[in-house]
């Protein structure tokens, strides 16, 4: 038997040839290795988006579970697809220069084309085609003369670099096809090269490829017709098969090897292309970094740098020098320095921010007294990956930082990282179902079920929820295809804030792509790709809480003039630390609005954790995360925290690692240290373990580490059971675990925001409202919480408000502080009231309101005066009337609106000035109209409609009499009810939460005029009362009261939808009176007002009932819908 000839495949498209290729790049590379190809390339359509993934995989292929990983020679390339009819060309760079050319060529095509649709012309190819090995794939159905002429001219241009590639098509004429190709190649003087023009790694992928085609053409699979491939032949084929197909042209197979030999370029050549920071001192980068670090160290440690820290700085500097990362740190330092010079609040986090140097450079404020610095975590020396620093900026001012980056580095050297948008649960399902021709209803039933499932595999739950039979073959097919397409890239989008910055031209390193925003450009690679190639990337992120804090600092300086010991305005680093009242407040779970710890889950944890010092906050931030919860670490920690059990350390060396967290590993760093100390991992291995954990769903490589860790720990004398538990915990971190540095950075913000809330609730409230949207709670709850802390809140008014909420002087009356916060009466230092801003009113534009404020002068005297002098349109004034903002004129919203409606539709400025001069004061000769005055309850509903909140009253207060008659307990009284008693509560539904970690329970938060109540709905009850839970806006809950550590829940046993009652609020006064009278007469009590109005049986009742029902539906819609959280 003759030996099977060697072969290399270069006509390979992956699923990064969007909606064409049907296999992941990794799968293709693995298959090539499996078939023992001499080399493999990847050539996606006018893109190199997938080449890094394939490259990474090519270096590390495990053919079986136990075998040592092997590699396969791999070459990144691109399939050039022209928009001018030129046949496709496989283009593979021979060297770094060729890669630069390819990137320039694709960038030019991207620039010319629409987003996601490059427009490549043959001229680009002729210009940039040098230093590449090329293989043209002619279309044999076109005229042979034309093709030959083209081949000859390209041969003249590219010489021996050009080949003619052909693949069998199984169209019935392959004999002729190959002969034609060979003939043309000979005639043009080109070598013939074999390929199978691969679209997927295995024949089973054909249905998926058909699906992708139909999605791409936006049609159904049965309509797609000839656009689909006729057969499943475009998969990667073993060498035997390729040899058989090309048995008459063996030289075509050999040519693939020669092609491979011509390619020497590797993606590894791109790394470390960091910009040269021009330093003030003119020193080289490393020396400049050292200078800045020591300078910073002296500031951070005014009493002298302690020996241990001194040593660490030396060590870190040496590591940075070895890895050549100095310029990276200088770049980050420079960006943050710019932001600070502009007064933009910012804070770094991420693994590199975990270093002492970053503390010295003020990249992070988390110092060594707070946490250990783990050098290995900081930079992984072995992998040679760049450090990772994310910087958070105020969300409203991030743009300025981005503009600076563009200005400094220019569009040639910086662009955003890409973010690969891939098919996830709903999207995958929706598109596949559409292509299979399922009706929109089935599709939306499958994908629309709230809390059905998210990005996990589509399984039983979803199909069941949609009423589909999973055993039905159609359903099975659907589920299979959806799971097949899951994770496939759909298109590239820009990363939220990851900037790539390079020293050389960026467009010679990676192609640049247009984004939806004209001035933003992005590269074709995402974060992981950039990491793997070793390019510098800085995450410039937006964080709402930073905006809020910056505003709070501003208000504090302006209104209270609070300063630090050196007379400087307060800032993040100089907030008085470790204040007991702050921790007391947090421990009482009085944390609405406080960063991170404001969610229900966090709040229920706080009274048990009772944080007393900063590190407790670090733990608090990290512990209430899916990772620790799944790893079952929360309860042991809580028990130890509450001193119900003693921490145990299996071995003394573990005590050193886990002491701070009472023996429970909570942070990624601890997991790594355990692996090093107990499992015998090398530091770099431990880092790989961490990375594997983060991506283990994608690669499944985590199992290797499992064996290694457990084995290592056993060898070091740990019980196997303990080792397994350790691994489970580490695994639990997965995607969710926090590194300690991260938690510490966030904990700083927790403390800062809690400090403001403790001492200056007025400042805090205004700052949060002015930074909306952010956080967990709606403005209504923020306002309510501020009022409960004694802050006076004032209505929006045309003569007082500005766009933002402002502080107006007002005495603080401790008596206003609600009973539950009585401890704070002596602590709160508020001296101002919050005047709500126009930003609170729905539908107003900032520019309009600025104009209103600008022209306000001594104040507006009438609606007409406002209209004339502000130049605002009638519809804007109507919005202000809706917001009840004319009270300073003595008008309520109804009378104000009536006056507004009388104004001419056009703007005042467009009219003749003479007649409209306000001082002329033409009296309005108009017959008087008597409008019914609006009852308070209706005002409240309108307040909600326009402002999403009401300062006048709580909607539920109008129903209190009735509720009291039904023996419903006001929420505030729940603390007087003893544990285990049955109670009934009622309120507006604010939040429904079904934590991903506790699938069988739903938390509801309901609110009445006295406060909120927390409802627990167990799955069994949810099944029974689903419509009420999901649909009601106003709800009654009967259940058992449960109280533990000051956290009160009502465990629902019955849930009633009372939304219809809200209709009463919208009744006009006389109707309300009538109802009351009729009720008196009829002696009806406790039934809903609406049905009581339809007294007579039969048809005559139709109309009022209809109107009433429509009305309550309308009111219910105005009330908050209740936000759903996972």
């Amino acid at each position: 038997m003759t030996a099977v000839p060697a072969y290399a495949e270069f006509g390979v498209q992956s699923n990064f040839s969007f909606l064409r290729g049907a296999s992941r790049p990794e799968a293709l590379v693995i298959t090539a290795r499996l078939f023992d190809f001499s080399a493999v390339g990847l050539a996606d359509r006018n893109s190199v988006a997938g080449v890094v993934r394939a490259w990474v995989q090519s270096k590390h292929i495990k053919l079986t579970e136990d075998s040592e990983p092997t590699r396969i020679p791999y070459h990144p390339g691109c399939r050039l697809v022209f928009s001018d009819g030129t046949p496709d060309v496989l283009a593979y760079p021979q060297d770094r220069q060729g890669w630069a050319h390819l990137c320039r060529m694709l960038t030019a095509a991207n620039e010319r084309g629409e987003k996601g649709n490059p427009d490549l012309h043959i001229e680009d190819f002729l210009e940039w085609g040098d230093h590449m090995s090329l293989a043209i794939l002619p279309d044999f159905r076109k005229s042979a003369e034309d093709t030959l002429a083209l081949l000859r001219s390209l041969k003249n241009r590219f010489g021996r670099n050009l080949r003619l590639a052909v693949s069998p098509s199984y169209g019935g004429d392959d004999h002729w096809r190959l002969a034609q190709a060979a003939g043309m190649a000979a005639a043009a003087g080109l070598s013939l090269m074999a390929t199978n023009d691969v679209l997927y790694h295995a024949a089973e992928q054909r249905p998926l490829q058909d699906i992708l085609t139909a999605i791409r053409l936006n049609t159904t699979i049965s309509e797609a017709g000839f656009a689909l491939e006729a057969n499943a032949e475009r998969h990667m084929k073993p060498r035997e098969e390729m040899a058989r197909l090309f048995r008459h042209y063996p030289e075509a197979l050999t040519e693939t090897l020669r092609f491979a030999e011509s390619l020497t370029f590797s993606l590894g050549e791109l790394k470390h292309n960091y910009p040269d920071e021009v330093s003030e001192s003119g020193l080289p980068a490393q020396e400049e970094l050292a200078r800045l670090a020591w300078e910073g160290a002296r500031e951070r440690f005014p009493d002298g740098v302690p020996e241990a820290q001194r040593e660490l700085i030396h060590k870190e500097l040496a590591l940075i020098e070895r890895q050549n990362y100095a310029r990276y740190f200088l770049t980050v330092y420079d960006i943050m320095r710019f932001a600070r010079s502009q007064g933009i609040l910012c804070q770094g986090r991420g693994s590199a921010a975990n270093s002492l140097i970053c503390y010295c450079l003020r990249i992070t404020d988390v110092g060594p007294d707070i946490m250990d610095h783990l050098l290995e975590r900081f930079i992984s020396e072995e992998r040679g990956e760049p450090p990772d620093i994310d910087v958070d900026f105020e969300h409203q001012r991030r743009e300025e930082v981005i503009a600076y980056i563009y200005k400094k580095y220019g569009h040639k050297r910086t662009a955003l990282a890409a973010s690969v948008i891939s098919y996830r649960g709903r999207l995958a399902l929706r598109e596949v179902a559409k292509v299979l021709g399922l009706s929109e209803d089935v599709t939306s039933a499958l994908s629309g079920s709230v809390w059905g499932w998210s990005s996990e595999e589509v399984g039983e739950t979803a199909t069941k929820a949609a009423g589909l039979d999973k055993t039905d073959p159609k359903t099975k097919q659907l589920v299979e295809l959806v799971n097949g397409i899951m994770g496939f890239p759909r298109h590239l989008s820009q990363h939220v804030g990851g900037f790539v910055i390079t020293k050389d031209r960026l467009d010679e390193i990676v192609p640049i792509v247009k984004t939806a925003m004209e001035e933003r450009k992005m590269v074709e690679w995402d974060k992981d790709d950039l990491d793997n190639v070793g390019l510098l990337k800085v995450d410039v992120l937006a964080l709402g809480m930073l905006s809020c804090l910056q505003r709070a600092f501003g208000l504090l300086e302006e209104k209270y003039d609070v300063r630090d010991d050196y007379g400087r305005p307060l800032e993040l680093a100089t907030i008085p630390p470790e204040q007991k009242p702050v921790y007391d407040m947090i421990s009482r779970a009085d944390t609405i609005g406080v960063f991170q710890v404001e969610s229900r889950a966090q709040m229920s944890m706080l009274p048990r954790l009772k944080p007393k010092e900063f590190y407790d906050l670090v733990i608090e931030v990290a512990i209430v995360r899916p990772g620790p919860i799944q790893g079952d670490m929360v309860h042991p920690y809580l028990k130890r925290r509450e001193e119900k059990e003693k921490p145990e350390y299996v071995r003394p060396e573990l005590k050193a690692i886990l002491k701070k967290t009472l023996g429970v590993p909570l942070f990624q760093e601890q997991a790594m240290k355990i692996a090093i100390v107990a499992g015998g991992f090398k530091p770099a291995e431990a880092d790989r373990l961490r990375r594997a954990m983060a991506t283990f769903k994608r690669t499944g490589s985590v199992t290797d580490y499992r064996q290694k860790l457990i084995k290592g720990m056993e060898e070091n004398g740990y019980p196997r059971e303990f080792a397994e538990r350790c691994f489970r915990q580490i695994e639990g971190f997965g995607e969710y675990g926090f590194p300690e540095s991260h938690a510490a950075s966030f904990a700083l913000l927790v403390y800062a925001s809690a400090w403001f809330k403790t001492y200056y609730p007025d400042v805090f409230c205004a700052a949060i409202l002015n930074s909306q949207p952010m956080g967990f709670y709606a403005p209504a709850q923020i306002v309510r919480d501020a009022r409960e802390h004694g802050v006076e809140i004032r209505e929006v008014d045309i003569n007082s408000s500005e766009w933002d909420c402002i502080l107006e002087e007002a005495p603080f009356d401790p008596a206003r502080v609600a009973a539950q916060h009585a401890d704070m009466r002596s602590i709160i230092e508020t001296k101002h009231a919050v005047r709500l801003g126009f930003r609170q009113v729905k539908g107003l534009a900032e520019a309009d309101m600025k104009q209103l404020v600008l022209n306000r002068g001594a104040g507006y005297r009438s609606v007409r005066d406002l209209w004339l002098r502000s130049g605002l349109s009638r519809s804007v004034l109507a919005r202000l009337a809706d917001a009840d903002a004319f009270r300073s004129l003595g008008l309520d919203r109804r009378t104000a609106l009536w006056a507004v409606q009388a104004l001419d539709g056009t703007c005042a400025t467009e009219r003749l000035p003479l007649l409209d001069r306000p001082e002329i004061g033409l009296t309005e000769h108009e017959p008087e109209m008597k409008l019914p005055s609006m009852p308070l309850s209706m005002h409240v509903v309108h307040d909600y409609q326009s402002l999403s909140l009401s300062l006048k009253a709580h909607p539920v207060s109008f129903l209190r009499d009735q509720l009291a008659a039904e023996k419903i307990t006001p929420n505030a009284r729940l603390q007087n009810v003893s544990n285990g008693r049955r109670v009934s509560v009622a309120g507006l539904v604010l939040i429904r939460q079904r934590p991903g970690t506790a699938k069988n329970v739903i938390f509801m938060t309901i609110e009445d005029e006295t406060g909120v109540a927390n409802i627990v709905v167990w799955d069994r009850m949810f099944k029974r009362f689903r419509p009420q839970v999901m649909g009601a806006r106003f709800v009654r809950v009967d259940g058992k009261l449960q109280s533990a550590s000051g956290v009160i829940h009502v465990v629902a046993e019955r849930i009633t939808d009372l939304s219809a009652r809200l209709g009463t609020l919208m009744k006009e006064r006389q109707e309300q009176d009538q109802l009351a009278r009729r009720k008196e007469i009829a002696g009806i009590e406790g039934t809903t007002c609406i049905s009581s109005s339809g007294t007579s049986p039969g048809r005559e009742a139709v109309q009022p009932e209809e109107a009433g029902a429509a009305q309550s539906a309308a009111v219910a819609r105005v009330m908050p819908k209740g936000r759903n959280f996972h």
């Binding site: 058909d210 057969n231 939808d1057």
Partner: protein
């Protein structure tokens, strides 16, 4: 008006969904769904979150419209002046008609009775102005109300503003200042209202009250052309009808000629003495104007209907309308009286057959896009416009036979593995030696169609020693199957 979904009580809750601003909302719902507390306008996602089990159907506004139109047709019996009102209402101008039905109240009762019998849940009202009738029908307490002249104001006053057919914007504007019932407007000074909400508000009010006249705009005559004959003496026999058809068709011819058009669809309306209208529709494959041909077509249809067409006490009016007309292509007869005539005759024949036996009685083949040879063509009704396949034609240049066997016939063949052409094959007991062969053309099954898709086929074009050419295929790939089967599928000329 609403379709009554009162099927058996265990009929599941059903809602009709409609896309509004990119969100699916409930457009209508049945009683069971209503009992659950669902409301029109609610988001489908919200409704599903509450009741995952509800059944949702997409709204079909075209079908609703058609239904409404057919109801309007049906109402022709009461008055010729019927107008459509929005998506779910009809105006009937019954001035001068009510006496035919025993007075207004009796007429109203009759309309309601008959529509209710047909399964509709209807609300109707009768008043001296369209506006008043509209308000009463939709906002009155009762389902059948005759508002006596002079009582308009009193009736309207307690009704909500919606009763005035106001624009949404005007209505909410009024409601926001507390004016929520018509009564509030009747009492109010007119000038401030008109100033703020425009003249239309006042007009609507006046229209309802009868202060200003309002005419309904009856549905335009659907047919571009029609001819009718009132008969003093009702007719009942088919022969009489046929004779009348011919007369009417002759009347229509000059009009068609003047317009340069021919009929593509004909509508024959037979008005029975007692008000029932029988309508007969006939489609044609090409524009027609020749009276005898038209008549012939209708005769076929009448013949097919015989028995089901009940003349009762006879028809007192017959109307023939051209429901759809199309440009008539004048063709010069060629001297040899060649193909065009044959084609014309064929289509006339097809029309007549279809008229008698139904749309699906005559089918013609049309091209379809499929890689599978047997799916390349499908049969469609000859009356339909045949849409040509839009996308690229067959991707493969290497010809296929024009004639395929109805069913591929198994043959015994010997071939080279794994995918060589047959060397010889035996078909219907005769042995054929293959002289030349080309292939394979590999065609995989359409996995999305059947539950158990067939196997991949390898097609070969082969020529036997006598120069006859065949299209053969092997079913299944080597490796997948030990002994693949061979079939003969067609012949090349």
């Amino acid at each position: 008006m609403g379709r009554n979904e009162s099927a058996p009580a265990d009929f599941p809750p059903l809602v009709i969904s409609q896309r509004e601003n990119n969100a699916l909302r409930i457009a209508a719902l049945n009683e069971q769904a209503e009992l659950l507390g669902l409301k029109p306008g609610m988001g489908i996602a919200d409704a599903r979150a509450m009741y995952p089990g509800i059944e949702v159907m997409e709204a079909d506004p075209d079908a609703d419209r058609q239904l409404l139109e057919s109801l309007a047709d049906w109402c022709d019996r009461f008055t010729p002046l019927v107008a459509l009102d929005g998506r779910d209402g009809l105006f009937l101008d019954i001035s001068g008609c009510s006496h035919l039905f025993g007075g207004e109240d009796a007429m109203l009762a009759e309309i309601i009775r008959r529509l209710t019998q047909q399964g509709f849940d209807i609300r109707a009202a009768l008043a001296s102005t369209p506006g008043m009738a509209w308000a009463s029908a939709r906002h009155s307490h009762s389902r059948d109300r005759n508002v006596p002249a002079g009582q308009e104001e009193q009736t309207l006053a307690p009704m909500p503003l919606a009763a005035l057919r106001l624009e949404e914007k005007t209505r909410t504007g009024l409601e926001r200042v507390g004016l929520r019932y018509v009564g509030a407007l009747i009492d109010a000074p007119r000038a401030p209202l008109a100033r703020r909400f425009g003249r239309m508000l006042v007009t609507r009010l006046d229209q309802a009250l009868g202060v200003v006249e309002e005419a309904i705009s009856p549905r335009l005559p659907v047919s571009p052309l029609s001819a009718e004959r009132q008969l003093a003496e009702p007719i009942g026999t088919t022969e009489e009808i046929e004779r009348l058809i011919l007369i009417l068709a002759r009347t229509l011819k000059p009009d068609l000629e003047r317009r340069g058009e021919g009929a593509r669809r004909l509508l024959l309306s037979l008005f029975r003495v007692d008000g029932v209208v029988a309508r007969i529709v006939v489609g044609t494959s090409r524009p027609l104007r020749e009276p005898t041909t038209i008549a012939k077509l209708l005769y076929e249809r009448l013949a097919a209907l015989e028995g089901s067409l009940d003349p009762g006490y006879g028809f007192d009016m017959v109307r023939l309308s051209i429901a759809v007309a199309a440009p008539f292509e004048m063709e010069q007869t060629d001297l040899a009286e060649g193909t065009s005539i044959a084609e014309e005759e064929f289509s006339l024949l097809a029309d007549r057959i279809r008229a008698r036996l139904g749309e699906e009685a005559v089918l013609v083949p049309a091209l379809a896009e499929s890689h599978l040879p047997e799916r390349r063509a499908r049969f469609v009704s000859s009356g339909k416009e045949i849409a040509r396949p839009t996308r690229t034609s067959q991707p493969m240049a290497g010809g296929r036979p024009i004639r395929l066997l109805e069913k591929p016939e198994p043959v015994e063949a010997s071939a080279e593995v794994p995918e060589g052409p047959p060397l010889s094959f035996r078909w219907r007991r005769a042995l054929y030696r293959v002289a030349r062969a080309e292939g394979p053309e590999r065609i995989a099954p359409e996995w999305w169609r059947e539950e158990k898709p067939g196997q991949t086929r390898d097609y070969f074009r082969v020529e036997d020693m006598d120069g006859r050419r065949y299209w053969l295929y092997r079913e299944g790939l080597y490796g997948e199957q030990t002994a693949p089967r061979w079939f003969l599928h067609g012949f090349f000329p």
